[in-house]
């Protein structure tokens, strides 16, 4: 209708209370009929001042904070922070601790991508079915987290120098029981969506990010790989012994929402490969090194980065030899990835804007911190 | 006992209401609504004549109503398109403001 009868642009709020903003996040979209002509992000509804709070607590006490930034991937956040502190204090992690960290980080990636891919399908209108399938598998992963760390979402499992506890006895059995059904679920989700004509119509050539834009906006994670840029911190700057595992980087073709979706699904497969390899070669020995409770790293600064499910998660720490960090800064991948939202949405329709937002896979806790 | 007069009376009342609306409304769309009412009352009258007629050409009333409905649909489409077009150029659809020829 908008093509024929001229209409005046008006502002439509998508959020802060909206089913598809994945949290409390608001887009002030100026729409002309069904077409989005401008989009302005309004952030900060979930701001909890974590970076400032962290300056008042000891290094170990800060680990639970990192759980609560990206609440869908707390293990990865723990890992990134612990790596930063270890780099700052020069602490070595024993091989078993590193392997456990890898397993946990990859399981967390699986859990997070289950949520991301499912929620994206939900945003395209596949009403709840794919997300429920993926949630079923995610539930099993969370169960494993619970039996390992005692918590499902905010695990607080990594420690400076290793992990909090050793793995429980039947851990391997549970993880192996998970891998087969998860592979099937990924194949099911792919069968339901990837070849679906309607899904293709909604996701192909929608919210395209050309690789120049992706690189210039310093995107990371599936957003960057979807645009055909082979970049993965696990390969480019390996940590926790990722160099010993055999896995591939999935990259997309043209950088549209569909490419990001299939990249996420393929990453899940690669994560399963890594988990299998890590379980095969799980070394013995201690799971952690002894670290003083009131850790006072030497003065200096450290930046550690990991490949979180959403992209490059960086922790920047400055120490003044005190028991708590002088400066604590997080580079949240969601926030940086979200910065291209305007480029992705303007010119498309409202429905496309929702798909674009869903394909970023944001977690607002991480954006606002 | 309902007779032709009953239906004709309703038709007349409806017609004159439509006429008053068409003559007195300020808004072009309101005027259009009056005209539609008048057309409806005419249809009613035609169908009533067709139902009560004695002659062989009873179907003529129905056929005529079919044409009236067709023309009314075309008329409404064009009139509303005109209203939108007029609104776009003059920012109003009030018929007594559309006096471009007078000034």
């Amino acid at each position: 209708m908008s093509e024929i009868v001229q209409s005046e642009p008006f502002v439509m709020n998508i959020g802060p209370q909206h089913p598809s903003t994945h949290g409390v996040f608001r887009v002030k979209a100026t729409v002309d009929g069904e077409r989005v002509v401008d989009a302005e992000m309004v952030l900060g509804y979930l701001h909890r001042s974590m970076e400032k709070l962290a300056e008042e607590r000891t290094y170990t006490q800060n680990i639970p904070f990192t759980d609560r930034t990206d609440y869908l991937s707390s293990m990865s956040n723990n890992l990134g922070y612990c790596l930063a502190v270890e780099k700052l204090a020069g602490i070595e992690v024993p091989p078993r601790g590193q392997a456990i960290r890898v397993i946990m980080a990859e399981l967390q990636r699986l859990a997070s991508h289950c949520m991301g891919a499912g929620a994206f399908a939900n945003d395209t209108g596949a009403w709840q079915t794919p997300i429920m399938w993926f949630m079923r598998e995610r539930e099993k992963i969370l169960d494993i987290f619970e039996m390992t760390s005692g918590a499902r979402l905010t695990c607080n499992y990594m420690r400076i120098g290793g992990v909090a506890f050793d793995l429980p006895d039947d851990f391997e059995e549970h993880v192996r029981a998970l891998i087969g059904p998860l592979r099937e679920t990924i194949a099911d989700g792919e069968g339901l969506l990837s070849g679906n004509e309607i899904f293709l119509a909604r996701a192909r050539n929608v919210a395209v990010i050309p690789q120049e834009l992706a690189v210039n906006a310093s995107l990371s994670g599936p957003m960057l790989r979807g645009s055909g840029v082979a970049w993965d911190i696990r390969k480019a700057d390996p940590y926790c012994g990722y160099e010993q595992y055999d896995f591939d980087i999935p990259i997309g073709y043209q950088g549209d929402a569909y490419d990001r979706f299939i990249v996420r699904l393929e990453e899940m497969r690669q994560s399963l490969r890594i988990v299998e390899q890590a379980l095969e070669a799980l070394p013995g020995g201690p799971h952690s090194t002894e670290v003083p409770l009131a850790l006072r790293p030497p003065a200096g600064e450290a930046y550690a980065r990991i490949e979180s499910p959403r992209g490059e998660l960086g922790y920047y720490l400055v120490s003044d030899e005190g028991p708590s960090p002088y400066r604590f800064h997080i580079r949240p991948p969601s926030l940086i990835n979200l910065s291209v939202l305007k480029e992705m949405t303007v010119g498309g329709s409202i429905a496309d804007a929702i798909v674009a937002l869903g394909s970023i896979d944001i977690v607002v806790g991480e954006i606002d911190r | 006992m309902l007779t032709l007069e009953h239906f004709l009376t309703v038709g007349v009342l409806l017609f004159c209401l439509g006429l008053v609306i068409a003559l007195s409304k300020r808004n072009a769309i309101g005027v259009l609504m009056g005209i539609e009412l008048m057309l409806n009352s005419v249809n009613l009258t035609l169908i009533a004549f067709s139902r009560f007629s004695t002659g062989p050409a009873e179907i003529a009333g129905h056929a005529f109503v079919a044409f009236v409905i067709t023309v009314a649909a075309a008329e409404a489409a064009v009139a509303l398109a005109l209203a939108v077009a007029v609104y776009r150029s003059r920012q109003t659809v009030e018929v007594d403001q559309l006096d471009l020829l007078r000034s």
Partner: protein, 420 residues
């Protein structure tokens, strides 16, 4: 027309006997005028109570949620009553207690009136549907047109609901539903016109009789009409994949955003009512209504009819549980560029066949020849028109490319190759 064997009132294969007995009983004790008014009311209430209400509550609400739950690897309602069967009742009670909020800036009269306007046509629609051989409440000669006319009314109610809420999401929903239903009404009416041309009647019992007499359902004689009808009606009903007027991930709940309590409940319940009516209509027209190649002599025909209706409804649920949602421009383009030409093509084809039928002396067997012509012709028409519109089935990669090492941009050498 094959009728059922007995006229006993207790023969439950034909409930019209029972209703006739009741009506005669009323006629004996009451004046004619009273019977004139009371009888239809009794008949209609009975049909509604026997068929529509249970279907709506226990198939529409409970069944839909259980089936969707099954598809989505969860249980669905299973707490209230045995197997959760009382869940619809619990829902209704909850909705009745809930406050029906009205926003301050809303048009209060219209916001109150919209659910009422929405409910009335849903009830009317069942008046012309033949549940069995003589079980049609109002045998309107132009029953098919009646159905088209009345099923166009809820759009107005939805529009009023969306506009009067004074909410931008609601307004979007209202505009979308009107645009959609205007677009999809055109192919819908055209394919029903095909049915009318072919069967030579506009009365729904007449169409069923036609299918009984020719021993073939119209779905086989006019597959194209059926496909177009099914797509168009699911678009008009706002069911996934075309539920853009209520798209919850885009415009929250469309025209229902500001509704709560029983006002919302009426919309929700009557949405199911319209879906059931469309399913009943489709099974009447395309699946032979109550007929089943002689089986109706043994099984109550109204049971066959209900089974067919619910089969259709199950397909609605199925698509809802499976498919993503299309965008409005894609939907409109689909209606005008794809469904409309196919409907016109079908109209031409069917008219020619009807002419041939009138001229030829092949008798009743001609329908099988027509079936043999129409099924491939429809498939070819769909294929050719899709190619004409520029749709090419391309091999879209379902797996991304895999690289071993991190190293910057990897250009796509051959997009068509795809996969690994």
């Amino acid at each position: 027309m094959p009728t059922l064997v007995t006229d006993h009132w207790y023969d439950f294969r034909d409930l019209s006997n029972l209703s006739r007995v009741i009506l005669e009983g009323i006629d004996k004790v009451a004046p004619y005028e009273l019977a004139y008014i009371v009888a239809p009311i009794i008949g209609f209430v009975a049909a509604f109570v026997i068929f529509v209400l249970p279907s709506q509550l226990f198939v529409g609400v409970y069944g839909e949620r259980r089936i969707i739950g099954r598809m989505q690897a969860r249980k669905g309602p299973n707490r209230v009553g045995p197997f959760g069967l009382l869940q619809p009742v619990a829902d209704a009670l909850k909705l009745l207690q809930k406050e029906a909020l009205t926003p301050t800036a809303a048009d209060k009269t219209l916001m109150w009136a919209a659910p009422v306007f929405f409910v009335a046509p849903a009830v009317l629609l069942f008046a012309v549907i033949p549940f069995g051989p003589r079980m049609v409440f109002a045998d309107v000669p132009a029953g098919l047109i009646f159905f088209i006319a009345v099923s166009g009314l809820p759009v107005l109610a939805a529009f009023i609901a969306g506009w009067s809420s004074n909410n931008k999401y609601s307004l979007f929903g209202a505009m979308r539903i009107v645009a959609m239903s205007i677009s999809y009404e055109v192919p819908l009416v055209l394919v029903l016109l095909c049915v009318v041309v072919f069967t030579n009647t506009m009365s729904l019992p007449g169409i069923v009789e036609f299918q009984v007499d020719s021993n073939l359902w119209l779905i086989f004689m006019q597959p194209l009409a059926f496909v177009v009808y099914f797509i168009a009606v699911s678009a008009e009903l706002n069911r996934t994949p075309t539920d853009i007027a209520e798209a919850e991930s885009e415009i929250v709940a469309g025209y229902l955003t500001e509704y709560s309590g029983m006002k919302w409940g009426l919309f929700y319940g009557m949405d199911i009512g319209y879906a059931l009516a469309a399913a009943a209509f489709a099974s009447t027209i395309f699946l032979g209504g109550w007929s089943m190649w002689g089986l109706e002599q043994w099984v109550p025909p109204w049971l066959l009819f209900i089974a067919k209706t619910h089969l259709f409804y199950f397909v609605f649920i199925w698509t809802r549980g499976t498919l993503p949602r299309l965008r409005i421009d894609q939907l409109m383009g689909f209606a005008w560029k794809f469904l409309l030409p196919l409907a016109v093509f079908n109209l031409f084809l069917v008219s020619l066949e009807r002419l041939w039928w009138n001229e030829s002396d092949l008798g009743g067997g001609i329908v099988f020849i027509i079936m043999a012509i129409n099924i491939p012709a429809s498939a070819i028409a769909v294929y050719l028109w899709a190619r004409f519109l520029g749709y090419k089935p391309e091999r879209i990669p379902t797996r991304p490319r895999l690289v071993r090492e991190a190293g910057g941009y990897v250009p796509v050498e051959d997009p068509a190759a795809g996969g690994q």
